[in-house]
């Protein structure tokens, strides 16, 4: 399978007459862009705001991030979401690099939403402070979930995906300057010297713990709760087949942007044919019932065994109960002789003294750790807030609170905040960017 991604670097984004791309400058016709957003009548209010690295801006509640892309054959960029279910990962896609579309609640936040600071101390906690962000700040008429802590955020998230596709389309006819080619030969058709290398699978456990539809990560538009582990081509993951959900505490979340750019897949590609033979991705999931967890682990083990994998990298999107899926999968792979390295974050508490994962097993002897979800973070006020700051305290975000005996509310009168890392937008970067680790103190 061969995927060519034409990369167009974006250095700045401005509003203007015509949505266009010219030498690093993306210009957006706001009115036209908002029409795309408002194709869904559930969107009652919407605006676009630009947030650039270094600006005194705080964005909250952030629900999703997407890299603007367009598939040159005209198929849906995000199959099952912005269009029909058609296969991706092959052919040509164009991408606007260095920027993202953020889905931001104009008022209302939910458990899985997060916060981004574009400058200052808070900027280091999230990857998205480094990007030029088009913030889609919107409200909806989804009254049924207004007072719920868990929200599907369907209208805003889908609108952001449409917007990302609309922006991506801007460069569809432009001449390519930089092209990334992602190609893996079929597993049984590889040369002897590649076959002789240690073969590696990447096992992903995207968030899928809500039994009700609408909250979980999607695979080709299909709720990951309703699937059994399956083999996928890494190009499908990079090319929009996986859509982020609306449930997981935010620092543990993998946004759609993260899937589109998954650093671990990129790194496995870079090693392919040199130090390893990259077999592909086993797309697993996270479950609520023990037998579901065991069944998923069994399938992962079986696929790895059938492929003859020598080694695996295993990553979980989440912590707490998902640790049980992670450890079950780790143990199953090791039992099958597949040498496994796990990637996860930890929940050691504000004082660092809690057990790092809720389930432990001595077979999980190789883990890359990406951060502590419960670290307390205090940040000074920011000049501008995009969205609504009060959401952090009021709406049950996983890292915010309305009141606390010792710490008071998350949001102070002067606009300064105190929160858990839990609500830093995709902060723990378990898909591979994380420059953080955990140490004993």
């Amino acid at each position: 399978m061969r995927l060519e991604i034409g990369n167009f670097p974006v250095e700045d984004i401005v509003f203007g007459e015509e949505t266009s791309y010219n030498d690093g400058l993306l210009t957006i016709n706001k009115e036209e862009a908002l029409e795309v957003v408002k194709e869904d009548e559930h969107i009652t209010e919407a605006d676009l705001v630009i947030a650039r690295p270094g600006e005194e801006k705080r964005i909250v509640p952030v629900k999703e991030a997407i890299e603007p892309r367009y598939r040159l054959n005209g198929d849906a960029t995000f199959p099952g979401v912005t269009g029909k279910v058609e296969s991706v990962g092959e052919g040509r896609t164009v991408a606007l690099k260095g920027c993202s579309v953020l889905a931001v609640g104009k008022h209302w936040g939910s458990f899985g939403d997060g916060l981004i600071d574009m400058s200052g101390e808070g900027a280091k906690y999230t990857y998205f402070s480094k990007l030029v962000n088009v913030c889609l700040v919107a409200d909806t008429d989804e009254e049924f979930e207004r007072e719920e802590q868990q929200k599907k955020n369907h209208a805003i998230r889908w609108a952001a995906h449409r917007l990302a596709e609309y922006l991506g389309e801007t460069v569809k006819d432009l001449e390519l300057k930089e092209e990334e080619v992602l190609e893996l030969e079929p597993i049984t058709k590889r040369s002897q010297d590649v076959n002789d290398l240690p073969s590696v699978v990447y096992v992903m456990q995207p968030q899928s713990q809500m039994e009700e539809l609408g909250y979980n990560d999607l695979v080709y538009g299909w709720d990951a709760n309703r699937m059994l582990p399956t083999l996928m081509h890494p190009n499908e993951v990079l090319d929009g087949a996986i859509i982020s959900g609306s449930f997981m505490p935010c620092s543990s979340k993998w946004s759609t942007y993260d899937f589109q750019n998954c650093p671990t897949i990129k790194r496995l590609y870079a090693e392919h044919g040199k130090t390893i033979n990259f077999l592909g991705v086993i797309m697993s999931n996270l479950n609520v019932a023990m037998d579901q967890k065991e069944r998923a682990a069994m399938f992962v083990q079986q696929i790895a065994k059938s492929l003859g994998a020598d080694a695996a990298i295993l990553a979980e999107e989440g912590y707490g109960n998902p640790d049980a899926d992670f450890i079950a999968c780790f143990a199953a792979l090791e039992d099958a002789g597949v040498k496994t390295v796990g990637m996860t974050n930890e929940c050691t508490g504000r004082d660092g003294q809690s057990q790092p994962l809720v389930t432990l097993d001595e077979r999980a002897d190789a883990i890359v750790s990406c951060g502590n979800v419960s670290t307390l973070i205090k940040l000074p006020p920011m000049e501008t807030v995009i969205g609504e700051l009060e959401a952090l305290a009021r709406d049950g975000l996983s890292g915010g609170w309305a009141d606390d005996e010792k710490l008071g509310p998350s949001v102070k009168e002067d606009g300064s905040i105190i929160m858990e890392n839990n609500s830093m937008f995709c902060g723990d970067q378990v898909l591979g960017w994380s420059p953080k680790t955990m140490k004993e103190f």
């Binding site: 039994e211 609520v288 019932a289 023990m290 109960n321 049980a324 450890i327 389930t359 432990l360 097993d361």
Partner: protein, 63 residues
């Protein structure tokens, strides 16, 4: 009584009775009220038996 027996084991629980799911440990809304009641009554009964049983290591009681 826990669905995630490995978690219970890891934190050191000694007498464990499996339940059916995280959001509804003792009664699957998909099944009939009667079935849910039977299941709940049965599992709580197993928990009571567990309380009466002498053990010398962490034990998961069969349901």
């Amino acid at each position: 009584m826990a669905n995630l027996i490995p978690v219970a084991e890891t934190v050191g629980a000694n007498r464990m009775v499996p339940t059916i799911s995280i959001p509804y440990p003792l009664g699957d809304p998909e099944s009939s009220e009667d079935e849910q009641w039977k299941l709940r009554y049965h599992r709580v009964g197993v928990a009571l038996e567990a309380l009466e049983t002498a053990i010398d290591e962490q034990t998961v009681f069969e349901v």
